[in-house]
């Protein structure tokens, strides 16, 4: 099963490599990893999506907790969360297709952030389902380049 871990760490150089190294050497699989500062400048948050059964996830959390710079590990897989990923995609768009693409993107509430002679760059944010749907809908036009971030998550409510 896929688990989402929210890991608060000291905002210092080297911390990310400690965490990533830990995954590599213990043979855990990271599906995605996003890191950034939090409301407290001295703390960064790493949002990790990891594949594994309960036992593996328990070990992952414990090993993470063991790192001196890791302040807190939360498994938020079963929490009510708001999840977001971001996508940038360069899609082939000649004059004929352009209108259709723009309409589609309207439906998905995506933004066009660059217009080239034969292509558009589209920006989308949303949960995984939406990002997948956007990609699927653009595929027939010809995707030239695609980048996406991993997932960031926040637990709903006052927690």
């Amino acid at each position: 099963m896929r688990h989402t871990l929210a890991v608060l760490v000291e905002n210092r150089p080297g911390v990310l490599s400690h965490v990533a190294g830990l995954f590599a050497r213990r043979g855990y699989n990271i599906e995605s990893l996003v890191v950034g500062e939090t409301e407290d400048k001295t703390v960064s948050r790493i949002t990790l999506v990891v594949e594994g059964d309960e036992r593996v996830i328990e070990q992952v959390s414990k090993q993470l907790n063991k790192q001196i710079e890791v302040i807190k590990v939360n498994d938020i897989t079963n929490e009510q969360t708001v999840d977001r990923q971001m996508l940038l995609v360069k899609v082939t768009a000649d004059q004929a297709a352009r209108q259709e693409i723009l309409q589609l993107m309207e439906i998905f509430r995506c933004r066009v952030v660059d217009i080239g002679r034969r292509s558009l760059i589209i920006e989308a944010t949303g949960d995984e389902g939406k990002i997948e749907a956007v990609i699927q809908s653009l595929r027939p036009f010809g995707i030239k380049e695609l980048v996406r971030t991993g997932k960031v998550s926040m637990v709903r409510g006052s927690k």
Partner: protein
């Protein structure tokens, strides 16, 4: 204003460091220069690996943090085996490395290596110091991290310019690490469960690992064992936590454990693991481990719980405190007589003796020949060691003979590389132990292979007048590997015979050591006594046949009760 190096040395003094094992170089000039002005003793080793092992042996003998120091690049990489050795055995050491100047980092400068990167997976923590003013905090944290919680090695990498810079640094008075708060006190509910299981168990067994020694919990262990008459087995790292002369003490379990200890483990109905991590050398096949037993696992490291083996009741915290909590909760409840009654024990003893007789490490009953068996050496040594004698070992068959047979009576008297099994550990570790305990006898048990790895440090013994007593089992073979080839490669022996060996007697003399050798059983006790009585460094070379293997042995995939005592198809007295 002080330089970074001077600040570092002052911080070391504040941590009560009395000795640093080191080896100099360009990137560490400032540090050595500052050290020279301090009261801290600076011992020059012969190889940086020796410095790390000496710090390790010092820590294990004294219970304090050991410190070593090396230059950048090759100095730092030479430390690495020592870092891993300390990490695997949870030994508190602080390693300081010089580094190229910050402006040169990342340019592949002369003698630059990313030692924080290299040591990351094998150290408890590490620091690359970028700002001189941060040194007091970093040093304080490093010592705190090394010795608290589950102890381990911490490395501080100090660039040359940071060591040279002069600043007004403020003292660091307390450590504040929000991400590091080791559990100390045991969870009340779980303590209750443990007590419940202890009451219900018919055949409980305590297994004391290295954690008992690092927590200083030997008295509590003894108290619990005696109060409930629970027999005690040890992991290799736990040897010494209970006296081998105590009637409840059964000795080492594991894939090279004693038959008695293994059989009791497989028959107990409650296995209480204290400060151990269920290493595969301890459990054999985990699926077959203690099949009838509920398992209580008490350890300071949460991440060890459930890592290798299913656990019925986990308990995380400081062993000394937890054992006290358990003893208190028992409210004076006692058991009379152990489940291992005299009879069952005698029976096991008989079985073990029968098996021991079949193992080639002991002389066959009634044999009066001159040949020296490994068992003879250990028995003779047992007659001579006192409770305070410290024994270090190298790695191989000699190590296991020592671990199985020595009558150790106190914690911190058996110092051996357990988790990493590092050959070349014995002599430098003994140097550390001897420096920590100048008045005590320190014996090294080594083999001809391991000795040649640790040999450079004889130079340190010579220069520092360290009177180690080295017992060299010379079987002219990498015996333990030969044994593995006996069992796993149908006795095809590759790269295990030293075609030619140096004359160890000359080597001893070259280093100013008393040089002894024994070939005849009759002269063995006298030679050993001569060695131990000698006031200075001494080496006793004992010739033994390469045919003797270490038994019992549990082969891969087998349970602890599936021990073998000989090579299949060979006569009971060993190989071809």
């Amino acid at each position: 204003m002080d330089s970074g190096a001077e600040i570092l040395v002052k911080c070391l003094e504040k941590e009560d460091v009395e000795v640093v094992f080191g080896y100099p170089g360009g990137a560490a000039l400032e540090i050595f220069d500052a050290l020279q002005k301090s009261k801290i003793r600076n011992i020059l080793v012969r190889h940086e690996q020796g410095a790390a092992h000496a710090a390790n042996g010092y820590a294990r003998a004294s219970g304090k943090v050991g410190v070593c120091l090396a230059t950048s690049g090759p100095g730092a990489t030479n430390l690495i085996t020592g870092v891993a050795t300390a990490y695997m055995d949870s030994i508190p050491i602080v390693l300081i490395t010089g580094q190229v100047s910050t402006s040169m980092i990342g340019t592949d400068a002369f003698q630059e290596v990313d030692v924080t990167g290299i040591s990351d997976p094998i150290s408890k923590h590490n620091y690359l110091v970028k700002d001189t003013a941060e040194l007091p905090r970093i040093v304080k944290e490093a010592f705190y991290i090394a010795k608290s919680g589950r102890p381990g090695p911490v490395l501080i990498d100090l660039p040359k310019d940071v060591a040279a810079a002069r600043v007004e640094a403020e003292d660091c008075l307390r450590v504040d690490l929000r991400g590091y708060k080791p559990n100390i006190i045991g969870h009340k509910g779980q303590i209750r469960q443990v007590v419940q299981l202890l009451r219900e168990a018919e055949r409980p067994l305590l297994c004391a690992g290295g954690g008992v020694i690092s927590a200083g919990a030997e008295e509590e262990l003894l108290c619990l064992a005696e109060q409930l008459q629970i027999p005690v087995v040890n992991t290799l790292m736990g040897l010494g936590s209970i006296s081998r002369e105590h009637p409840l003490s059964l000795g080492m379990l594991g894939t090279y454990g004693l038959a008695k200890a293994n059989l009791v483990t497989q028959n107990c109905d409650l296995f209480i693991a204290l400060g151990m991590r269920f290493d595969d050398r301890v459990t054999g096949n985990t699926k077959k481990f203690a099949p009838q037993a509920k398992i209580i696992h008490i350890d300071i490291d949460t991440a060890e719980i459930g890592k290798n083996i299913r656990v019925d009741v986990p308990l995380v915290g400081d062993l000394k405190i937890i054992l006290k909590q358990i003893i208190e909760s028992l409210e004076g409840e006692k058991r009379e007589g152990s489940w291992l009654t005299r009879e069952t024990l005698a029976e096991l003893e008989k079985e073990a003796a029968r098996e021991a007789a079949a193992t080639p490490a002991n002389a066959p009953a009634g044999s009066a020949g001159p040949e020296i068996y490994p068992g003879d050496v250990i028995s003779a040594l047992n007659q001579l060691i006192t409770p305070d004698t410290i024994v270090t070992t190298d790695v191989g068959q000699h190590q296991i003979w020592a671990a199985q047979g020595l009558k150790l009576r106190k914690p911190r008297t058996f110092i051996s590389s357990g988790g990493l099994g590092t050959m070349g550990y014995g002599i430098p570790a003994a140097i550390g132990a001897q420096v920590a305990c100048p008045g005590r006898t320190v014996v090294v048990i080594t083999g001809d292979g391991s000795f040649q790895m640790g040999m450079p440090e004889l130079g340190t013994c010579l220069a520092e007048d360290l009177p180690l007593k080295i017992i060299l089992f010379n079987n002219k073979t990498l015996g333990m590997v030969k044994q593995l080839q006996d069992h796993y490669c149908e006795r095809r022996h590759t790269s295990v015979y030293f075609r030619k060996l140096p004359d160890f007697q000359y080597i001893a003399r070259a280093y100013g050591a008393l040089s002894l050798s024994a070939r005849d059983k009759k002269e063995l006790p006298e030679k050993l006594e001569q060695l131990l009585r000698h006031p200075g460094l001494g080496i006793l070379e004992i010739e033994i046949s390469a045919e003797y293997n270490v038994y019992p042995m549990v082969l891969g995939g087998q349970g602890l009760d599936e021990m073998v005592f000989s090579v299949p198809g060979a006569c009971s007295k060993g190989g071809d």
